[in-house]
């Protein structure tokens, strides 16, 4: 086994070169370069966590803004609804007033018309009495040859009309 057979003549060389090469590895690579590599990786990790946190915060802000928007939207809706209701009530009141005025006018017109009709029918009735009295006097004169007075004829007609 050369490891044991050669130990006397090689141990010093082995230890010397081992210390030299591993010293180079440790001091130049391990201490000189590895911390820089590690720092880069750490910086990247920190950046990723920072970016993620920022994104999370932005999400929260967006949610907040949306909630705010929703609240304002609801508020506006309520305000609009109230205005609308008020306007509706006002319009209804105005319409009611107008309707009442129109009703009154229509009623007065109907009253006037009825009065005119009443007057016309009375006039017509009077006309009929005169005509009937005239006719009654003619009938009396023709049948009996007696000239009935105007008043008597009129009374007779009135009585007949009253009895229907």
């Amino acid at each position: 086994m050369p490891q044991i057979a050669q130990i006397a003549e090689t141990y010093a060389s082995q230890i010397f070169w081992m210390l030299l090469t591993f010293g180079f590895v440790f001091f130049v690579i391990g201490l000189g370069m590895v911390p820089k590599v590690q720092a880069t990786a750490d910086a990247r990790d920190a950046k990723i966590t920072g970016d993620l946190d920022a994104a999370k915060a932005a999400f929260a802000r967006a949610d907040e803004a949306e909630a705010d928007y929703r609240a304002r939207d609801a508020e506006n809706r309520a305000a609009v609804q109230a205005t609308l209701a008020r306007a509706k009530a006002e319009a209804a009141k105005v319409a009611e007033g107008q309707l009442a005025a129109a009703d009154a006018e229509i009623a007065s017109r109907i009253g006037a018309a009825e009065a005119r009709i009443q007057a016309a029918s009375q006039a017509a009735m009077a006309e009929i009495e005169t005509v009937a009295a005239e006719a009654a006097r003619d009938m009396v004169a023709r049948i009996s040859g007696v000239q009935a007075s105007d008043e008597a004829a009129r009374n007779a007609v009135k009585a007949a009309l009253a009895h229907g």
Binding site: M1, P2, Q3, Q6, I7, E9, T10, Y11, A12, S13, Q14, I15, F16, W17, M18, L19, L20, T21, F22, F24, V25, F26, V28, I29, G30, L31, M33, V34, P35, K36, V37, Q38, T40, A41, A43, R44, K47
Partner: protein, 261 residues
């Protein structure tokens, strides 16, 4: 081993000085630049290239940067899971440890033999794994005594130990603690050595049976070859798992030092 027809499965672990540096020495110690050292340098350079590709530091990473950040993130989560938030300061060390061992294991598995080169796995040498194990253990000791002072010894007295049991428990816990660097280093060395020996033995079966005749080649040789394919895949897995185990145990031990029990 030049004997024809004989394949030495241990030859792959032989350390050979390269580029005529046999007698290079420092303070009386031989520090020849060997094939083992070459693979250590290769692992360090490959790791450097890998991490440099991840240094673009872009916010949206490319594939390479993603791969490097995945590895550092993996070590980071390993340390946070085992040590807690205080474990983050060990990322450079555990990352270096894990990646260096992982690349050493994987580079040693490359089929460079096809191009006439001799792949070498320096993690199959306890002289190499031992250095890493002792390093990890020393850091655990240093952190433990620096953070807790002599109170660190309470690590060897688990919570709720009855008073008369302490003289018995303390030495047991102490020994199990002191064995850690050995188990840490030997586990990696044994796993890598065993896997490479197994692959070489099976490869020897394929070559020797094919040389022995068509009948042997088709039966023993092809069966061994199919087995080798499976075991090669298993060895890649073992390479990753052993690097992970080393890093995991180091972070578990660091947890003891950082938080006691």
């Amino acid at each position: 081993m030049a004997e024809s027809g004989k394949i030495d499965p241990m030859h792959q672990f032989a350390i050979e000085p390269l580029f005529g540096t046999d007698h290079l020495s420092l303070g009386g110690f031989n520090i020849a630049f060997t094939n083992s050292a070459l693979y250590m340098v290769a692992a360090a350079v490959v790791l450097w290239i890998f991490v440099v590709g991840g240094m673009k530091r872009e916010l949206v990473p490319g594939r390479w940067q993603m791969a490097v950040e995945y590895m550092t993130g993996f070590i980071k989560s390993l340390l946070i899971a085992n040590v807690g938030e205080g474990g983050k300061k060990y990322i450079p060390y555990v990352f270096s440890l894990f990646m260096f061992i992982l690349l050493a294991n994987l580079l040693g598995l490359l089929p460079l033999g096809l191009f006439g080169l001799h792949p070498f796995t320096f993690t199959s040498h306890f002289t190499a794994t031992g250095v890493l194990a002792i390093l990890s253990f020393s850091i655990v000791l240093a952190v433990g005594f620096y953070k807790h002072g002599l109170h660190f010894f309470s690590l060897f007295v688990p919570h709720g130990t009855p008073l008369p049991m302490i003289p018995v428990i303390f030495p047991i816990e102490l020994v199990s603690f002191l064995v850690r660097p050995f188990s840490l280093g030997l586990r990696l060395f044994v796993a890598m050595t065993a896997g490479h020996v197994l692959l070489k033995v099976l490869a020897g079966f394929v070559i020797n049976s094919a040389n022995a005749g068509v009948g042997y080649g088709l039966t023993v040789g092809s069966a061994s070859f199919i087995l080798m394919i499976g075991i090669s895949a298993l060895e890649v897995l073992v390479a990753v798992i052993q690097a992970y185990v080393f890093a995991l145990l180091t972070s578990v031990y660091l947890n003891d030092a950082e938080n006691l029990h």
